[in-house]
């Protein structure tokens, strides 16, 4: 027994000694695990010598009528029993110590739960202990580094932007690589991660191997994130209020920070004199990085109020939450409002019903621009003209510019530097409007209303057999609007425009399952059989207007012309038959078999149905007699799993431009084809005939009635271990995932009238190790220290790419940096020339203009030594997939104070940082080499086509740090408060990138296709947050 509790009991005993024995009273308590302080559900609490007792609810709470002198026997499988004598305590906090000889954590698996010791697949569980104290506005952002095999990357640093999540590498070439999201057993769109409230989350379970996820059949190939939401409690209503406020600051790039002063010094040193341009720039008197203007930092706040309560029959949980994230970029903002109600009721011994209902509204204002475009502008340019800068305006061309107007580079040209008309200096290098105007004069919003609701009924047919039927619906209404005002573009009012997209999605699922569980002798049998129906209906409409003369009414209604309008509606249906059989003998020998048969409407008539089997076995060696009594080994399990899953998501790219993954677009380029890919479709077209539009129909695609889902086959052997009473525990997994019959837009000859046909071809392999090690280094009454190391390696290989093998792709014809998709290498591999050496500054036309400019070109290597530089000298230059991702976490507890931190890192990925081209102004003619003097010009190529901009994207970050104080309960009880915690936390307080990386976020990746992945056009910055918060329970 805990010393503190002993002490407390003693004090209580003293206080109560004189009190005469009373009749029964009610004691309330919470049972928590001493190991990780998570509440333990299902704990038996019995009054010794009688039959009275209860069990704890999902949150470890119990209520029991007792009388003085009763002795409570508290027991739970996997923990050591605890005896507590009742004196007069009304509130109990019971810490149970793990009995590591029978570790019995319950893990949520697809369509059911399992004892952890019986698991044969690879499933990681993350309990929300303090994830809600990480000041991020999306739950997925908080999962970084928590689990092996899961790579969560801040590919877009805007407020509210979804990170890219990939589980065990990227296997799909054209489909969606985002994991399936399941909330309380219900499949939802990954977009729901953006509206969940972390305070409502109980735990995450991540199904990583195919055997675990194949129960989700054609949806499981990217892994599954199962989210369990907090349920109601038996007993007095528990009220929780949690709040934090955080201050965010963008990481700046030093390489992208220039100053006129430094350039001037370099110029003076090289040439002995300053050019007129440099003199003029200094005269204007402004010298600051545009990073300071557009990375304006921000505040993040969150408030969450929850009430949970009920009785032994009916329980409820309800919550309200609000959060606002200003983001670190100019204008970006993400506001979230949510509400949740969850009810569970036992009508009688046989029947229980329940329902949940959670509406949410999010409003996201986008940063409607591109950082590269803004940061390439020059240091001396002010945002607005003031009394000083107005005097430099070329009045002949710009007679109307006034103080307060946006300053444009061209305003500053033709300046009479010496006041005598002898020299008119031009310093502009673009006709673009002011970079800030491009952002501030645009308004781009994503407004989403989501409603997630479910209803279930469960019937206990016998003690072993239950039937559960659940109907759930998720509804999403999205309005995206994009206003580009009259000052937002260099082309002025003619470019002012409004675009509005409305999307409505309804997703209905009906799950109907029988569950059978029986234990007898040494046998544990579990079986699950069910059928699932799902139906999805989507509506999309888009309208664009032009012809605005002013910013008065930023609505379509004010447009002079409707320049485009579009509307689509489509449906997708599915039916699935699900079965699973689990068997354990003597808790030693484990086996699990499952089979799912999926029918999906989007595939060809010949392949509507597919089968997804899985088999896995395990051996709990530690339960064998020869290890049973081992002092060292308390848990040792070998397991092997094999499973087949599929990927049927080929729609999200063209419909949902901000879906959570940047690798999520099969773009057949047409929404209709994306939803009915197996049919031969005709598209409505129009043509102008003698001045009026006539409509026509033309074929849209090459039909493929044999189209089917992408298939993933995975084999995953693993070991779970625990030594010295789980002081050291962890797991090691090796996996090999082979994704084949990939959905590819395979090229066909143009002479067919098309360019591509959607087919199942190709194969990708991902393989790697996962390692988790958790240690309890010190476990004393008043001091504890725990550590965790999590590491994942992955190797991605393109095995078969059919007719596209060796294809070279670019994503921008103007700056055609290339990728190669070559069998034997990772899917997306950078391709180009190899840098030999820089061109000496003396050969540049003007190395000191513009400020921060660098040479556009570089000498490259003649790899095949034939004396000339051509395509034959190009080579693979790296790939965007990390080889190793890791985290290292430490948690300390000293009395009432706790402290934790996590370092997290990623190694081996490269990024194509096109930001260099823009921000170093390489396209400026001043940075061109002088064709008259430069030697060996045949060996010169633009840097963007070489490895000069292929940079190491590795990083090491201090992801999270948290220090908190838990007020002692004896103090709090005076104020009727059961728990109060205050804390300070930080994210990314240290963020170290590789030396050759010049940008501000090595994780940031532009949205391109999976075969041209790793493109960063400056991107959006990583940011650090310092926050303070409190958790208050009544």
């Amino acid at each position: 027994m805990n010393l503190k509790i002993k002490l407390m009991l003693f004090v209580m005993l003293m206080v109560n000694i004189s009190i005469i024995a009373q009749d029964s009273f009610t004691v309330k308590g919470t049972v928590i695990s001493q190991t990780d302080e998570s509440p333990i559900p299902g704990v038996n609490i019995l009054i010794k010598g009688g039959s009275k007792g209860t069990t704890t609810d999902f949150d470890g709470n119990f209520t029991l009528d007792v009388k003085q002198g009763d002795i409570l026997d508290i027991s739970f499988l996997g923990f050591k029993n605890k005896i507590i004598p009742i004196v007069s305590q009304k509130v109990l906090r019971v810490l149970l110590e793990e009995d590591t000889s029978a570790l019995e954590e319950v893990v949520v698996i697809g369509y059911g739960t399992s004892k952890k010791s019986h698991l044969t697949g690879s499933i990681s569980k993350v309990v929300n202990k303090d994830l809600d104290q990480i000041a991020v506005s999306r739950v997925d952002d908080a999962l970084v580094g928590q689990v092996s095999g899961v790579n969560i990357q801040a590919t877009d640093g805007e407020a509210g932007a979804a990170p890219t999540i990939s589980i065990r590498g990227v296997g799909s070439m054209a489909g969606d690589s985002t994991p399936l999201i399941v909330v309380d057993g219900i499949i939802v769109d990954s977009d729901f991660l953006g509206s969940l409230n972390m305070n409502d989350v109980q735990s995450f379970e991540i199904l990583k191997d195919a055997a675990s996820s194949s129960i989700y059949g054609s949806k499981g190939a990217n892994g599954v994130i199962m989210i369990s939401m907090k349920s109601g409690l038996d007993g007095k209503t528990k009220i929780n209020y949690s709040s934090y406020i955080g201050f965010k600051e963008a990481r700046h790039s030093d390489a992208y920070t220039f100053s006129i002063a430094e350039t001037a010094a370099a110029e003076l040193a090289a040439n002995g004199v300053l050019s007129d341009r440099t003199k003029y720039k200094q005269l204007i008197g402004i010298d600051r990085s545009w990073q300071d203007v557009i990375f304006d930092g921000g505040t993040i706040t969150s408030h969450s109020l929850s009430l949970r309560g009920g009785n032994d029959k009916t329980k409820f949980a309800t919550s309200l939450n609000f959060s606002d994230d200003e983001g670190v970029l100019l204008t970006d903002n993400f506001t979230k409002y949510g509400m949740r109600l969850k009810l569970d009721s036992k009508l009688n011994d046989k029947i229980s019903i329940g329902a949940s209902f959670s509406p949410s509204y999010t409003e996201r204002r986008r940063f409607d621009g591109s950082t590269h475009d803004i940061l390439r502008q020059t240091n001396w340019l002010p945002v607005y003209h003031d009394a000083n800068t107005i005097q430099y305006v070329d009045r002949n061309i710009y007679p109307d510019v006034q103080i307060g107007d946006y300053a444009i580079q061209r305003h500053f040209d033709n300046y009479d530097l010496y006041g005598d008309g002898s020299v008119l200096v031009d310093i502009s290098n673009t006709s673009n409007t002011n970079p800030a105007a491009k952002i501030l004069e645009r308004e781009r919003y994503d407004k989403k209303f989501k409603l997630f609701s479910s209803f279930y009924g469960q019937y206990k047919i016998t003690d072993d057999l239950t039937f559960k039927s659940m109907v759930s619906g998720s509804y999403q209404d999205t309005k995206r609007s994009r206003w580009q005002g009259v000052l937002s573009n260099r082309n002025g009012a003619s470019a002012a425009q409004m675009n509005e997209i409305t999307q409505r999605s309804t997703y209905l699922i009906s799950d109907n399952f029988f569950n059978y569980n029986k234990s007898f002798d040494k046998h544990d049998i579990g079986a699950t059989v069910g059928v699932v129906f799902e139906s999805r209906d989507e509506f999309f409409s888009s309208i664009s207007g032009t012809g605005y003369t002013n910013d008065g009414v930023k609505q379509i209604t004010n447009a002079a012309t409707i320049s485009g309008a579009d509307a689509f509606e489509w449906e997708k249906n599915g039916i699935s038959y699900v079965s699973r059989f689990n068997y354990a003998y003597d808790n030693k020998y484990l086996a699990s078999l499952s089979l799912r048969r999926d029918g999906s409407s989007i595939f060809g008539s010949e392949y509507k149905y597919g089968n997804f089997p899985a088999v896995s076995i395990g051996w709990n060696i530690s339960n064998e007699s020869f290890l049973e009594d081992s002092e060292v080994v308390n848990n040792l399990k070998f397991r092997v799993s094999y499973g087949v899953t599929g990927n049927d998501r080929l729609n999200t790219g063209s419909v949902n431009p901000d879906s959570s993954s940047s690798t999520s677009s099969l773009s057949t380029g047409d929404k209709l084809v994306d939803f009915y890919p197996s049919l031969a479709l005709l598209a409505a077209t129009t043509a102008s005939v003698n001045g009026s539009l006539q409509s026509g129909f033309s074929p849209l695609n090459i039909a493929n009635p044999e189209l089917k889902w992408e298939r993933l086959i995975e084999i995953n052997p693993g070991i779970d271990f625990g030594f010295y009473n789980n002081k050291i525990s962890g797991s090691i997994d090796w996996y090999q995932r082979t994704s084949d019959q990939l959905l590819l837009n395979n090229p066909v000859s143009y002479t067919t009238g098309f360019s591509n046909a959607l087919v199942n071809l190709g194969e990708v392999k991902n393989e790697g190790f996962e390692f988790e090690l958790r240690t309890r280094n010190v476990s004393l009454e008043n001091f504890s220290w725990k550590s965790a190391v999590i590491a994942t390696t992955n190797k991605n290989t393109l095995v078969d790419f059919a007719d596209s093998n060796g294809q070279i792709q670019n994503i921008d014809a103007k700056r055609a940096a290339e990728w190669i998709n070559l069998e034997g290498m990772p899917i997306s591999t950078y391709y180009g020339w190899v840098v030999d050496r820089d061109i000496p500054l003396e050969y540049l036309k003007n190395a000191y203009h513009p400020v921060g400019g660098q040479a556009q070109d570089v000498y490259v290597k003649d790899l095949n030594g034939d004396g000339l530089i051509d395509d034959e000298d190009k080579a693979p230059l790296g790939d965007p997939y990390p080889d190793l991702v890791w985290s290292f976490t430490n948690e300390f507890k000293v009395g009432d104070i706790d402290f934790s931190f996590m370092f997290q890192g990623s190694h081996g990925a490269e990024i194509r940082n096109m930001g260099d081209q823009y921000i170093f102004n390489q396209f400026n003619s001043g940075q061109d080499f002088n064709t008259a003097t430069t030697p060996d010009q045949d060996f010169i190529k633009q840097k963007i086509f070489t490895d000069a901009i292929i940079q190491d994207a590795s990083y090491i970050a201090l992801r999270n740090i948290n220090i908190g104080y838990n007020f002692p309960e004896d103090v709090l009880s005076k104020f009727k408060i059961s728990k109060l915690r205050v804390y300070a936390a930080g994210q990314n307080l240290m963020y170290k990138t590789a030396d050759d990386y010049t940008g501000f976020n090595p994780e940031s990746i532009d949205r391109t296709g999976p075969t041209t992945y790793g493109y960063q056009r400056a991107g959006s910055p990583i940011y650090s947050t310092i926050s303070i918060g409190l958790n208050l329970d009544f």
């Binding site: 039937f467 209709l672 102008s688 005939v689 033309s698 143009y750």
Partner: protein
């Protein structure tokens, strides 16, 4: 309690009943929903009206997609890259990207614009073939003949462009399956391609009337066939066809500039129609030709060589053909096809309506071209002519340009020059040079003066590399690539 158990029992059955009924009530089309935002091909092209929508789709293909994506077919919107920018008339403003390969005569087989135009032409041919394959459902014989004529006109025009740009090309004269690999990659000799073009245009001449200017017409078919015959050296046939067009009520606009800013005027024989401000039916080449108004920083910029020709021999046409770029005064822009007819204000780039959604129709064939073809037909490959009919046609074109001195003799080079200044930036120059047999001499000289890389193999574009790759050895590349 007993009653309660009964209810329980019933619920058990009800639950089972629900499952069974849900499973069985799933109708067979549950997994085969019918799209309601599009039509499936199997259920279409059943009558004349539906076949006519297929014809409209051909013109949609000619229009091309107004976007900046290389994966969309841009069709005639990209044609200037492959024609004017490979002649001595135009170039890019800042020599960047794939676009600059044309002016330097170092086009690579991987060039996306080359592939895009190839794809666009075959898409047009495909749409024409669909109409031809579905004519059987058109019950009215006259209507069927008219549809056939119209589809064949368009198919012929696409092949005429292909054969002149790429040489021997695959000949697809019906809808093919993606699995018919041989025909997709077999390059048919140009003469056979011309056989199909002549045959198609002959059918078109007999089946069409002169109702439309932005759909095929008899005059358009006659004019195009005349040009095909000129290319093949069949001058008397060409002369007759030109004279047929000259007797069909077309005429020259009094003011040269009005040709380009009065849609479907009396001089227009065939044009690709566009509508301004509509993203699906507008064009962006007008914007691309300006200074950084479109996606590029400026393409189809005017060479000094053509400026000299226009200034010296163009008469009033010079001022209506190009102008100095107000934003960059060392550069010159095309002024035929200014976006929606707007000048772009003081800096030449500030447009009132969205320049990237321009509505200017693209003129494929106009009357002045026919008049000059008439002269060419009479010249019949000779070096000069004093034929009065030829002089009359030549004089009409010159008179309108304000060059009213009576012409008494026309030489081949004078005719070529006249075509250059009359039809500058209308994508004729390169084809004219080749047809007149002057490409080699003119382009070599031009290339030498400007430090470009012309060689005779540059007269044909490469077959897109992706087609060569997909053919797995079946398809050969043009010489020099």
């Amino acid at each position: 309690m007993k009653k309660y158990k009964d209810i329980m029992k019933q619920i058990k059955y009800i639950a089972l009943l629900i499952i069974v009924s849900v499973i069985t009530s799933c109708s067979s089309d549950y997994l085969e929903p019918v799209p309601n935002s599009g039509i499936t091909a199997d259920s279409y092209f059943n009558n004349a009206d539906e076949v006519e929508t297929g014809i409209i789709a051909i013109y949609d293909a000619w229009q091309g997609v107004n976007s900046t994506s290389l994966s969309d077919n841009h069709s005639v919107q990209y044609e200037f890259y492959l024609t004017e920018m490979r002649s001595d008339n135009t170039r890019t403003k800042s020599q960047e990207g794939e676009a600059a390969q044309f002016e330097f005569y170092n086009v690579e087989a991987t060039n996306g614009i080359v592939a895009n135009y190839y794809a666009s032409m075959y898409n047009t041919i495909f749409r024409a073939n669909i109409v031809l394959d579905n004519l059987a459902v058109v019950t009215d014989a006259d209507q069927a003949a008219a549809f056939e004529a119209e589809a064949k006109f368009n198919r012929a025009l696409a092949y005429f462009n292909l054969v002149r740009l790429y040489g021997d090309v695959p000949l697809i004269d019906k809808v093919i399956s993606p699995l018919d690999l041989e025909v997709q990659y077999t390059r048919v000799v140009a003469s056979s391609v011309y056989d199909l073009i002549v045959s198609d245009l002959t059918t078109a001449v007999s089946g069409l009337d002169n109702t439309y200017k932005t759909r095929a017409s008899k005059a358009a078919a006659q004019g195009m066939l005349a040009k095909v015959y000129l290319t093949l050296g069949k001058y008397s046939e060409a002369q007759g066809l030109c004279e047929d067009v000259m007797g069909s009520g077309f005429g020259l606009m009094d003011n040269f500039n009005d040709v380009f800013y009065n849609e479907r005027n009396k001089e227009i024989i065939f044009a690709i129609g566009y509508e301004s401000a509509l993203s699906s039916d507008s064009q962006n080449f007008s914007a691309e030709w300006m200074n950084g108004v479109g996606r590029s920083s400026g393409v189809n910029y005017v060479t000094n060589d053509v400026i000299t020709a226009l200034d010296d021999f163009g008469g009033v046409r010079a001022q209506y053909s190009y102008r100095n770029d107000a934003s960059q005064t060392t550069q010159n822009q095309v002024t035929k096809y200014l976006p929606n007819g707007e000048s772009g204000g003081a800096d030449g780039k500030t447009f009132i309506s969205d320049a990237t959604l321009a509505g200017n129709d693209w003129i494929v064939l106009r009357y002045a071209d026919v008049l000059l073809m008439h002269v060419e037909a009479i010249l019949a490959g000779g070096n000069e002519t004093t034929d009065s009919q030829a002089l009359s046609s030549f004089q009409k074109v010159r008179d309108r340009a304000g060059l009213t001195t009576t012409v008494t003799i026309v030489t081949k080079d004078e005719l070529l020059l006249e075509r250059r200044v009359e039809l500058a930036f209308e994508n004729h120059r390169l084809f004219d040079l080749v047809r007149f047999g002057r490409a080699e001499s003119v382009l070599s000289a031009f290339s030498a003066v400007n430090g470009l890389g012309y060689s005779s193999s540059d007269l044909l574009l490469p077959i897109p590399q992706r087609e060569i790759n997909l053919s797995k050895g079946l398809m050969s590349q043009n010489a020099g690539y």
